[in-house]
């Protein structure tokens, strides 16, 4: 299997805005590899550094030191994003556009040829079941529908790697089920999925490997099956153990 995503000694520091707070380390010495075709769960409590790592991978934030590559290209190069689909945690789309216009815009950015553009838009809309609402402005959509718009835009370029930041956050059980089905389908198609989530049951179901981050440091990484066997408990209990949570009596 080839390495699709590689992170080496990644360190990200933020200068705190509060006086006397100095520098805050968001990610500290992170090393990670994601292989082609696997579903990789990126876990950690809030503030662990998951989103910061994703932001580095997508070129939003500059690493203080270390480096990251996607498909062998430095993440700071736009070409590294050619074969990526990204779904942010919350829905951030142009509300004055309808879904079809939004997808057409992103398809242009990906330089999808005009002859294939409509077919791709139709396929993405069919996958997320938004065909009937394609002409409606995004601002009139429910939260679940907006999240599906997010998935459609993430899939418009038929990506080989999907980066999903808490894809089921704020969705109802049916919405979660649908997202899970889509991830499963992408996995069956041989796509690589790198996603963060707090839904550990869901992660256990769909992921091949996981990494658990706490306070910017990588605590555990391995195959879900191996971790469950090693710790003799489910992923949620492993997670709580690793972050040092003790239940109050």
């Amino acid at each position: 299997m080839s390495t699709i995503l590689e992170i080496k000694n990644l360190r990200v520091e933020y200068r705190s805005r509060e006086v006397g707070q100095g520098v805050k380390i968001a990610v500290d010495g992170l090393n990670l590899n994601v292989q082609a075709g696997e579903v990789f769960g990126f876990l950690g409590p809030n503030g662990a550094g998951k989103t910061t790592t994703m932001n580095v991978l997508l070129g939003f934030v500059n690493a203080t030191s270390g480096s990251a590559w996607i498909f062998g290209a430095d993440v700071r190069q736009p070409i590294a994003r050619q074969r990526i689909g990204y779904l942010p945690e919350l829905t951030y789309y142009y509300k004055f556009l309808n879904t079809e216009e939004l997808l057409r815009f992103y398809a242009k950015i990906f330089r999808i040829p005009r002859s294939q553009r409509e077919a791709r838009i139709n396929a993405a809309l069919k996958l997320v079941e938004l065909e009937s609402a394609r002409k409606r402005l995004i601002k009139t959509y429910s939260k679940g529908m907006q999240q599906r718009v997010g998935l459609a835009q993430a899939l418009i370029n038929n990506p080989d790697l999907l980066i999903l930041d808490e894809p089921t956050s704020g969705l109802d059980p049916i919405g979660r089920m649908k997202v899970r089905e889509i991830i499963q389908r992408l996995k069956n198609e041989g796509k690589t999925v790198f996603f963060s989530s707090h839904e550990l049951g869901e992660v256990e179901t769909v992921c091949d490997r996981v990494a658990i981050l706490n306070q910017g440091r990588l605590k555990v990484e391995g195959r879900v099956h191996d971790l469950v066997e090693k710790y003799q408990c489910n992923l949620e209990q492993i997670f709580l153990k690793i972050i040092g949570y003790e239940a109050q009596a």
Binding site: V61, I79, R81, Y94, L97, F110
Partner: protein, 258 residues
């Protein structure tokens, strides 16, 4: 270039789907239409005053459209977080900035064409005289002026976080340049060193936006500007556009987006 054009398309689409833009647009068009129709007592002077007021109104409206549109482009993308799914695609920050500039500038140009068309049709119909080349030159230079303004405001939008502060500061600076810049060299002559050199440096550094205010070309139907001068004024304006856009890119290219 394709990416920049795609971004520009979105900017234009947003502009024509916003209600506040229409209010300003229709209001200016209406006032221009009404005032342009006046021909009080067949007095040529009054007609000229009214023409001058109409053109001033067009200048103010286009300036407001250019500043308010350009000022909110990048801050709004960051605030509404639409910049994240966009920059997660193979688009460079330079292309994003250029696309934003192009969209705002084209939108301003379209607004200008409509304003000048209204004004030209009304005054031409009254005076039975159609100085089309005068209109073209005035419109062209006005558009170049708006290009410089748009690029300047975009630069401000990556420096100042708040849209309102950027818009206000930009408006004051542009008004200052329009009204004061042309006199700086005369003031410098009356000053002692090193103030004189500093003021001279400012005089030569600021874009002389007053070059682009050729309303008299329409009001008084002055002879056409030489096409060579028009070309040079275009190049002069474009040089400032490039300078401001380069500055915007320098600041924005490595900015962390959280």
């Amino acid at each position: 270039m394709n990416n920049a054009i795609a971004v520009a398309g979105i900017v234009i689409k947003e502009l024509y789907r916003r209600k506040d833009f229409y209010v300003l647009f229709i209001l200016t068009a209406l006032i221009t239409l009404v005032m342009g129709s006046f021909k009080l007592f067949n007095d040529e002077k009054i007609v000229r005053y009214i023409k001058e007021i109409c053109l001033l109104l067009i200048w103010l409206s286009s300036l407001v459209i250019a500043i308010t549109t350009a000022a909110r482009q990048i801050p709004a993308e960051r605030e509404q977080r639409t910049i994240f799914p966009l920059l997660a695609k193979p688009i460079t920050r330079g292309q994003l900035i250029f696309g934003k500039f192009l969209g705002c500038w084209i939108a301003c140009g379209l607004a200008l064409v409509v304003f000048y068309l209204f004004f030209g049709l009304i005054s031409g119909a009254r005076e039975h005289h159609w100085p089309l080349l005068n209109y073209f030159q005035a419109l062209w230079l006005h558009w170049i002026f708006l290009g410089v303004v748009t690029a300047f405001v975009l630069l401000g939008s990556v420096v100042f976080t708040a849209v309102s502060s950027n818009a206000t500061i930009s408006f004051i600076v542009i008004a200052g340049i329009l009204f004061v810049a042309r006199h700086l060299n005369k003031i410098a002559l009356q000053m002692a060193e090193p103030g004189r050199s500093i003021l001279y440096a400012i005089y030569f550094a600021v874009p002389h936006l007053e070059f682009y205010d050729v309303r008299d070309l329409i009001i008084h139907e002055l002879p056409l500007i030489s096409w060579k001068i028009l070309g040079l004024a275009t190049l002069y304006g474009m040089a400032y556009v490039v300078f401001f856009l380069f500055g915007t890119w320098l600041i924005f290219r490595r900015k962390s987006l959280n």
